[in-house]
């Protein structure tokens, strides 16, 4: 059995209609082509970014566990692989990775607030922009210092 992430966890509660059509009935939303849940704006794009960053971090983590395992094989081998992480191209990759993790972490907290905070859903759009603002502050703090480490300043 495979549930899609948009499926209802309580079968029966959803009635016969797909969520978009039900929403259209209850809140008289603008009519959309049936069968799509892509509605644009902050809600959709935050989800797209959360998904892409999640996958990117996942594949990095697979590699990162393997490269770290080299400390158990040989100190020389570990140091040789780590030295490739210190060239400028990888340095920019690390910057992108931190940017991805920063967004995923902050937006993850936003998702949790939407789920558990009584007025979370009502404020999801505002919270998205707060996530972007906090993320920008974080990157302004990290990027110059990391670039100095990489390009030697």
């Amino acid at each position: 059995m495979s549930l899609k992430s948009t499926d209802s966890l309580t079968p029966g509660a959803s009635g016969g209609l797909p969520p978009t059509q039900k929403a259209g009935k209850r809140f008289s939303m603008p009519k959309r082509p049936a069968g799509t849940v892509y509605r644009g704006r902050e809600g959709m794009w935050s989800w797209v970014l959360h998904r892409i960053t999640g996958v990117a971090i996942y594949f990095f983590l697979l590699v990162h566990i393997l490269d770290t395992a080299l400390v158990r094989v040989s100190p020389e081998g570990y140091n040789a692989v780590m030295s490739t992480y210190k060239n400028p191209i990888m340095g920019l990759g690390e910057l992108a990775l931190v940017a991805a993790i920063g967004f995923h972490a902050l937006n993850g907290l936003r998702i949790i607030l939407i789920d558990f905070w009584s007025v979370g859903t009502r404020n999801q759009r505002l919270m998205f922009w707060i996530v972007i603002a906090l993320w920008a502050v974080l990157m302004l703090g990290f990027a110059p210092r990391h670039l100095m480490h990489i390009f030697g300043g």
Binding site: S2, L3, K4, S5, T6, L9, R51, G54, V55, I57, Y58, L61, L62, I65, L66, T68, A69, V71, R72, P75, E76, Y78, N79, M82, Y85, K86, G91, E94, V98, I101, A105, G108, L109, I111, I112, D115, F116, F142, R145, H146, H149, I150
Partner: protein, 146 residues
Amino acid sequence: MTATLDAPRSKPAPRRTNWEKWGWIYMRASGVVLVVLIFGHLFVNLYAGEGVKAIDFGFVAGKWASPFWQWYDAALLWLALIHGSNGMRTIVNDYSTGPRLNTWLKRAIFVSTVLLILLGTLVIFTFDPCPTGTAADLLPSFCAAR
């Protein structure tokens, strides 16, 4: 009109564990802990001191000589990898609609997760910061060989 009643004292329908729900809860619980663990990890390894330039065998040995960092990194390994794998399972269910491919992708995720957790945990807890036969300048400062 005839009303039908359940036979008295019959067993209620068996309630099975809702794994999908526990997965949902796990994503959120692990997420909160991961924010703290990952920000600490990035701060110590990439921001403090010389950043990525300072990372070598001596740096890792200096950290894993202490049980605190061993358990810190083990928690990071388990929480992040299971969180990531469960997230990937969601994505496979969303996009891979053929039943065969769907099953095989999820098996691949499961097997790689188990193997990497075993490997990572073994590496962290069987680690020797002062291996014999290693050039002294690669070792952390507290090793007797230095």
